[in-house]
Structures are given as structure tokens and as C-alpha cells.
Subunit: 217 residues, 2 copies
DNA sequence: TAGATTGTTAATCGATTAACAATC
DNA sequence: TAGATTGTTAATCGATTAACAATC
């Protein structure tokens, strides 16, 4: 827990889930070992980058051999915190909130658990999405505190997002998965991961109209 | 059209929609002028970066004055291609596909138009989402060609995504807004903008468990 | 005109890639 | 042992920031 990692660049952190995904795919194909060179060819990055990235966290490989797929998969999972219990809530049970609640991939494959959805709309309060209840937003404080929830998806309109996020941070939320098209300003010990859909679509639009050499990010 | 912009770094392009959003907010507040310094304080970036970014596309400001909000908003919109007709389709009419079709923000505010959704599920074919029909995937080729569609959201399972994307690119799609958790390998004149939700949640999870100084991207 | 702020060049910083000795 | 491939240092590249002359 007292992880004394000297600050690791966010560029590195953002690449970890992609390594994790590729290793998962290799595992599924029963491939047991891989070298940074082979992996780099599949992922279209440099082998140097893979080795540099991984060595921020320790030496997971073996000279002359490469990396054990199963082991590396597990280790990256641990780094990301997927070995821990990751309970979450979704605030805003509209189309997007419900779509997230239904989204298998992270719900089951990676051990996240959606504990409840929240909304102010009386028509939604009480229904269940994938077996998860939609509760009244009034119950947020109590729920967060009682269950010790740390992670919340925010799928509410942008005018409401900053105020409610501020409150939720006070009640104990440490990480916001923010889908509202606005920047949240919260204390330093709270993280925000923005998913600004409209912005990503605009970036795509630029590239469509100015198509050059493709550059998968 | 023959935009002879020497390759502009993708870091710059990704920041443009955020400038656009802030300028839209200023416009809504009837603010008519802004300096790079004021804007930089609101956006928590350096004024230098704003000026450098904008000057990739031209001198939109005026010494001693700053930038005209309305004008800059319009110009960035043009750079992004929002002044053009941006018809799109959504392939995969499940929860996520439907949520996108319902998503006001980009549908109306920025002039995108969802022309149709597509699915293989007979239960979905024929229904309407926000007035937009769900068609049989068999009709994709004809629809793309007839309507000259260039942009497509992919909200289908990952095993099906690469094959269908390949076909769609042959039929004329130039930009994929890819929500499937897999990398698409397509010709150079086709762009892919990935929205890998599970990966963004993992990045958040890492930060929650290793919370340090917050760093809004 | 004087003050403000741009556009742009130069300096710095950080991230990526290359190279290679260590070692399995 | 010989071959392969890591971990890691050094070199390069690119992006960000600082500084300031140009100019409105």
C-alpha cells in the first residue's frame, strides 16, 4: 500500500491497460512466453518502449527468454489495482449510465462491481438495470459512506456535474469517471478520468477531413 | 480543401476541441474578447501553449487586444470540420449504440447527424431510436455508398469489429469512432479514434490506488 | 503615444528510441 | 557454452515553456 513508486509518468500509465489487453489475448491463445520484440510487432510500438515501461515497476522478464505471459498479465493487473475490490456506482441513470451498467467487459471480465445507479428522475428510481437498483440521488451520501465507495461514473448533465462531484468527493469518492462535458476541479487526492465523447468525435472529424498518414494513437 | 498544413502534431489536434468548448462557454456568457493569459488561467494550461497551438493554423489574435471569442470559436470549428456536413452511422444498436444515438450534445449542438443505426439482431431491426431507424447490417454497403457516409461509430462486439471495419472502409468509411476493445488495422487514409472504456477505467483505478498530486490531463 | 498582448524564436524539459553490457 | 533477450544508460527527438521584438 505504501507504494513508494517515484512518480511514474501518466504516458506510461495510460499504456498499461493496452499491454494488459494484449497479454490477455495471448493468454487466451495459450501462448506462454513472449519477447518484447514480438509483442512490439503485434502492438506496433517499439520494443524499447515496452521494456522501459515495464521496468518502471520491476524486472518482470528474463534475459534470453523474454516474459512469461501469465505472470506479466497478473503483475500488470496488480499494478493497475485490478486485484483489489473495485466497487463503483453510476450517477445518472439515463441512456449512457444504463449502457455502462450493462457493459459486460469491465463489469465481469475485470472484477469491477456496479453497486448502484443514482438518479433524480422518479420514473427511473426503483427500476433495475442488469440486477442493479436505481436509487434516489438523496441516498448518495449514505450509500457512499456505508459501502466505502471510491469510484464513481458521472453520467449526468454538465450543469449539475461540478456541484455533485464536489459533494461526492467530500463523502469519500476518490476517482471520477467523468462523462459530463465539463472539467471538474477537485482536491488533489481525487482523480478524474475524463471521457469527453464529443471531443473525441471532433478529433476524428478533423482527421477525416485532413486525412494523411494514419497514426493510431 | 487542398489544405497544405504541414503535419500538425496530434497533441495539438486533441487540444482543439477543448479550446472549442471553453470558447463556446465564453460565448454563452456573452464575453466577446479574451487574452491567451485569461484563457490559460481558466483552462489551467500555459498561455504559451495556447498561442503556439493556435498559430499552427494562423494568426487569429491581435496584439494588444487578444482574441475575439466569436471569431476564434468559428475558426476552430472550421479547423475541426464542424462547418461541413457530418453525416454518420452507428453500427451496433445495443445499449451503447442507442445511448450514442440519444446523446444530444454532439447530435444537435455540433451538427452531426446520425443517419441510421445498424444491427444483426432481428429484435432491433425496424425500431427507431430518437427517430432514427435501425437497419439490417446487410444494408450497410448500399447505405454507405448511397449516402456517401464517411464517419461511423462502431459499437459491436470485438470479435466482429475488425472484419466489418475492413469492409466498411472498402465501401467508403474514412473515420471510425471505435468503441470495440480491439485495435483496428486499416489503410492509411482511414482514421480510427478509439474510445476504449475499460482501459480508461483501469487508468482511473491505478490513480485511485496510487493517489498523488492530481493531474487533469 | 503608452500599454497590452500577440506571433515567433530560442531554451528547456520530458519522453522515446537506440545501443549494449549483463545475464539467463 | 553460445544465442537470445533483458534491464538500463546514453542519444535523440519532439513537445512545452519562456522570452521578447513586433505591433495593434
Amino acid at each position: 500500500m505504501a507504494n513508494s513508486d517515484k512518480n511514474i509518468s501518466s504516458a506510461v500509465i495510460k499504456r498499461l491497460p493496452r499491454y494488459f489487453r494484449y497479454l490477455g489475448a495471448l493468454k487466451a491463445k495459450n501462448i506462454t512466453r513472449i519477447s518484447s520484440k514480438e509483442l512490439s510487432e503485434q502492438m506496433m510500438v517499439t520494443a524499447s518502449q515496452i521494456r522501459q515501461d515495464l521496468n518502471n515497476f520491476g524486472g518482470f522478464g528474463q534475459q534470453g527468454y523474454g516474459y512469461n505471459v501469465d505472470n506479466l498479465y497478473t503483475e500488470i493487473g496488480k499494478i493497475l489495482g485490478l486485484d483489489k475490490r473495485n466497487d463503483m456506482i453510476i450517477v445518472g441513470a439515463g441512456n449512457l449510465g444504463q449502457a455502462l451498467a450493462n457493459y459486460q467487459s469491465f463489469n465481469e471480465d475485470y472484477g469491477y462491481k456496479v453497486m448502484a445507479l443514482f438518479d433524480v428522475n422518479p420514473k427511473l428510481i426503483g427500476i433495475s438495470v442488469r440486477g442493479v437498483k436505481v436509487l434516489d440521488t438523496d441516498e448518495l451520501e449514505n450509500f457512499i459512506k456505508t459501502h466505502g465507495i471510491k469510484i464513481a461514473a458521472l453520467t449526468i448533465p454538465k450543469d449539475q456535474a461540478p456541484a455533485i462531484a464536489k459533494k461526492m468527493a467530500e463523502w469519500g469518492i476518490k476517482g471520477f469517471w467523468n462523462f459530463a462535458p465539463i472539467d471538474l476541479h477537485l482536491p488533489d487526492n481525487v482523480t478524474v478520468e475524463n471521457v469527453h465523447l464529443a471531443e473525441s468525435l471532433m478529433t476524428l472529424t478533423y482527421n477525416v477531413h485532413n486525412r494523411e498518414e494514419s497514426e493510431n494513437e
